[in-house]
Symmetry: C2
Subunit: 139 residues, 2 copies
DNA sequence: ATTATTGATACAAGGACTTGCAGTTGCATA
DNA sequence: TATGCAACTGCAAGTCCTTGTATCAATAAT
């Protein structure tokens, strides 16, 4: 399990700078109880330092995604949510009727990933997906 | 293979109306060469009747999605694209480096769908997905 | 130390949808 | 034909996110 320190050194290694904004944003994601939205991150960060802009949040999230530290998922409610890779890998099942969301183990896509590699030579990047459908009691 | 007539009668069956706007929008999607965006649909429709609004296009697309006549896919270029189910079911592999997009057979998710049904009782709605990753020559 | 260079930020404007609403259209019953 | 009702549309405003730009900060070169 990577520590925040590792993430920050990974930034410097690649020529990125460690700024107070980035530290606060990363902190907000890692300490979040649940999957967190950009607006929620901004609110938390602004408690510490009120002049941070939402565009900085989005740009930092883009950076953390590229570095593989954070995943982005659309649960279908009009805003995207973020999750630290440190807090475990998984996917979600989202019921289109009752709105229920349940966790799903990451290994479920292994057969698909293998097939894609064999048949298409494609290295699929399947992380923290939201699969839509109907749950047991709604279908 | 469903004809447009069937789609239109499916609308009336469920209490929806067949309006000129809806007919033109459906026509644009079904006659499109490729996966088409809302803005492109609007442009085509406005050639016939110039006063159609983009919100009508989006509302009609939402309706056609609900009826299972049209799929919506985000290829990661900032706008969502639509595809008529009449023109065949498939998924796509999108390379995050070269941007290449290749078709993929629909059956690839069958093992996942079966597992979800058995283990979670979840009826997954997996249609016209875009899977991101790296293609043979880019990885 | 001083200057150049590059990176990062805040702000504002823009793009892709979505939503609220008032007005219109089409259908049903009388 | 008139009246009521529900579906639909266009318009405008709003939301979420992205992008251009001038300014500011940190590192590198002089
Ligand atoms: Zn999750
Ligand atoms: Zn449900
Ligand atoms: Zn397709
Ligand atoms: Zn490629």
């Amino acid at each position: 399990m990577a520590k925040s320190g590792e993430i920050l050194s990974k930034l410097t290694e690649q020529g990125y700078r460690i700024t107070p904004q980035r530290m606060m944003i990363l902190d907000a994601i890692e300490n979040a109880e649940d999957h967190i939205s950009a607006e929620e991150i901004l609110t938390l960060v602004c408690l510490q330092y009120p002049n941070v802009n939402i565009s900085t949040v989005y740009r930092t999230l883009e950076l953390l995604k590229q570095l593989g530290m954070v995943t982005e998922t659309d649960f279908g409610d009009g805003r995207v949510r973020y999750h630290s890779i440190k807090k475990g890998r998984h996917h979600h099942l989202v019921c289109q009727k009752c709105g229920g969301i349940v966790d799903m183990e990451e290994s479920i896509f292994n057969p698909v990933k293998e097939t894609l590699l064999e048949q298409y030579g494609f290295d699929a990047d399947i992380h923290h997906m939201a699969i839509f459908g109907y749950c047991k009691k709604c279908r």
